[in-house]
């Protein structure tokens, strides 16, 4: 679905073309971060992150490995505290108190469970530690998954363990469920099954979900909203429909980026001696007959944002579209 890209990537969007947006994009946001940053010793794992995650939707957080996805998610669930900036989750400080903790579910990377505890004991743990625990739902899910309640979690397969962790997260009845690379270690079948069950549960419970992945195709089927995180910064955050409607691949005779109309923001560009290819973001239709316009899939758009970055010579953020 995407044409082969040329190896030489030259340019990305110019920052002066960015459209400033108001602080509140969504009427109800489960996560609102402003100027959020996290530094480990001398390295910034996340910088200048201003972001909103809409309520009641499924949001995908995409980015290459080491982009800061886990840092952002652990800041949201309150396992970490930010170095700078503010973050509000479900109207409160992440992990501020027990009530706040009850509002956010978290399935951590590699889905940690207590190896020595059985499946049933994990549910008991959840029941003891969560006031809003839905035991019937948890039992029903375990039954449906075919997990043996007396089996130790350490002896479950990766997929089963992920399902157990998801069950714990869902039965807690949170307002927001955060999943960090939940399917990364699963085989394609288990991956599909996991996401399917997640979507069913989301439809039943009407909760907001935020899940991260470095594989865009995982998210394409399930997400309403996408955040692209590259090099510890948010590149783009928008609804999937908007992203698809406003991004175009233009290819035609060679042209410099500054000759493009002012409302076309370059996300990614590639040039040969005679030809130029751009991925642009624009609200208005592309009218120039010299261009061959190709509609972009979500994966193409996300990859364009991921690839568009390293060509930036000055090191300043370029395609901060939000």
């Amino acid at each position: 679905m995407s044409t082969p890209r040329k190896p030489r990537v030259e340019s990305a969007a110019r920052s002066d073309q960015m459209l400033p947006r108001g602080p509140r994009k969504y009427v109800s946001a489960v996560v609102a971060a402003a100027g959020l940053g996290k530094r480990y010793r001398r390295r910034w794992a996340l910088r200048d992150c201003t972001l909103e995650i809409p309520a009641g939707q499924v949001t995908g957080l995409v980015g290459p490995n080491g982009a800061g996805k886990t840092t952002l998610l652990t800041l949201i669930v309150g396992l970490l505290t930010p170095t700078v900036g503010t973050i509000e989750v479900c109207g409160g400080r992440p992990a501020g108190d027990a009530t706040q903790l009850a509002k956010v579910g978290f399935v951590a990377q590699d889905t940690p469970t207590y190896a020595g505890l059985t499946v049933a004991e994990h549910l008991r743990l959840g029941r003891h530690l969560n006031p809003r625990w839905d035991d019937a739902q948890a039992q029903e899910r375990i039954g449906r998954l075919g997990l043996d309640p007396s089996q130790k979690a350490g002896r479950l397969s990766g997929g089963q363990r992920a399902q157990l962790a998801l069950t714990l997260g869902l039965a807690k009845r949170p307002e927001l469920l955060v999943l960090d690379e939940p399917v990364a270690s699963l085989d394609p079948l288990a991956r599909r099954e996991f996401l399917q069950l997640l979507m069913e549960a989301v439809a039943e419970q009407e909760i907001a979900v935020l899940l991260s992945s470095h594989v865009v195709s995982d998210l394409e089927r399930v997400c309403d909203h996408v955040v692209v995180l590259v090099d510890s910064q948010v590149r783009v955050a928008d609804d999937v429909d908007t992203l698809l409607a406003t991004h175009h691949r233009l290819s035609g005779p060679r042209r410099e980026a500054d000759t493009l109309p002012a409302d076309q923001h370059v996300v990614w560009a590639s040039h040969t001696d005679r030809q130029s290819t751009y991925v642009v973001r624009t609200e208005s239709p592309v009218l120039d007959p010299a261009w061959t316009t190709t509609p972009q899939g979500l994966e193409d758009v996300v990859l364009a944002y991921m690839e568009g970055t390293p060509s930036d010579p000055a090191g300043t953020p370029l395609a901060v579209v939000r």
Binding site: L79, L101, G105, L117, A165
Partner: protein, 344 residues
């Protein structure tokens, strides 16, 4: 939270309590006979069997090892194992704050530790009561409960050591984040503290008593010479059960002094080969020895003793317990601070 803590802890808990139970049963079976023996006989020491002596020293060993072992195996992995296996990310996202989570874990393990070691020390102290500090009619004795080795294994202090060890292990585990290095480091620090306290701290917990005695055959405990170096005299305190901190010869002005040079020549020759490090027993050639000591006294030499009276035993016990518990409180506070501030 209590259920989870119990569930994670129960096997270690049962193992330790089973061991404590076994030790107590053994001591309970042998204790009354010993007490009976001690009540009826003046020279109990000579009547003790080798098994009794083994049990006496075994009781000391068990109480020396138990707090350290519990601190290492319960304290250090308490949080470190959750950190290294990643399960803290599961635990800290339940609807329970980190402080409550840590409070439950610490509360449970500290209580379990205190009770286990409390039972152990009560039993051992009761068992050893008739034997502590007894003297043989000829030679040989068992350590008084004031001596550093026995003091730490009697009364209430072992409980505070164990609580301290658990909290030390927890904090080290929190900082190091890995169980095995945390266990090693906990052991190292604990041993260091256990050596440092009787050496530098315990003597000063209560002001020690200072007394000066005249040198005579009655007060003389021994004369020692190290190689070609000067002779050193040690004197007996008022009570053999006291813990003598300093035992030195002072001159007429009260300053610590070496014995005068004539003293070595005055002494009768020891019966056997006077090799280096030999201790001359006072019972040889009494007349001459007495004369030497009288001459020392005439020249103004006295023996100064600084000691903790055996009557201070319980006051010292409570003072040291308080010290360790205060340190434990600081460690617990640091753990709470660390779990909230540094691990985020």
């Amino acid at each position: 939270m209590i259920w989870l803590t119990w569930r994670q802890f129960r096997i270690q808990l049962l193992a330790v309590y089973a061991l404590v139970g076994a030790v107590c049963v053994w001591l309970a079976l042998t204790g009354p006979a010993l007490a009976h023996l001690a009540a009826r006989n003046k020279d109990v020491y000579d009547l003790l069997s080798s098994t009794d002596l083994l049990l006496f020293n075994g009781g000391i060993a068990v109480l020396a090892v138990a707090p350290a072992v519990i601190g290492i195996f319960w304290g250090a992995p308490l949080v470190a194992r959750e950190l290294e296996s990643g399960t803290y990310r599961l635990a800290w996202n339940q609807s329970v704050t980190r402080w409550r989570w840590l409070a439950a874990k610490l509360g449970f393990s500290v209580l379990a530790t205190a009770v286990a070691v409390g039972i152990l020390t009560t039993t051992v102290t009761w068992w050893a009561q008739p034997l502590d500090g007894i003297q043989g009619s000829q030679r040989g004795s068992l350590a008084s409960r004031m001596t550093p080795i026995s003091f730490a294994m009697r009364g209430v202090v072992p409980v505070s050591y164990a609580v301290f060890a658990v909290l030390l292990g927890t904090l080290v585990g929190l900082v190091v984040r890995r169980s095995v290095p945390a266990m090693a480091l906990t052991l190292a620090i604990y041993v260091l503290v256990q050596v440092a306290v009787p050496w530098w701290v315990r003597p000063h917990l209560i002001p020690p008593t200072t007394t000066t005695v005249f040198l005579s055959e009655d007060t003389l405990d021994g004369i020692a010479s190290t190689g070609s170096g000067p002779f050193k005299i040690t004197a007996r305190g008022a009570d053999p059960r006291d813990w003598v901190l300093t035992n030195q010869t002072v001159d007429a002005e009260g300053h610590p002094a070496a014995l005068p040079s004539w003293f070595g020549d005055c002494l009768p020759p020891p019966p056997s080969d006077p090799g280096s490090g030999a201790t001359t027993q006072v019972h040889q050639a009494p007349g001459t020895l007495d004369a030497c000591l009288s001459r020392l006294s005439d020249e103004g030499y006295r023996q100064r003793l600084v000691y903790q009276s055996h009557r201070h035993f319980w006051r010292l016990q409570w003072a040291e317990t308080g010290l360790y518990l205060a340190a434990s409180g600081v460690l617990a506070g640091l753990s709470f601070w660390w779990v909230r501030r540094r691990l985020s």
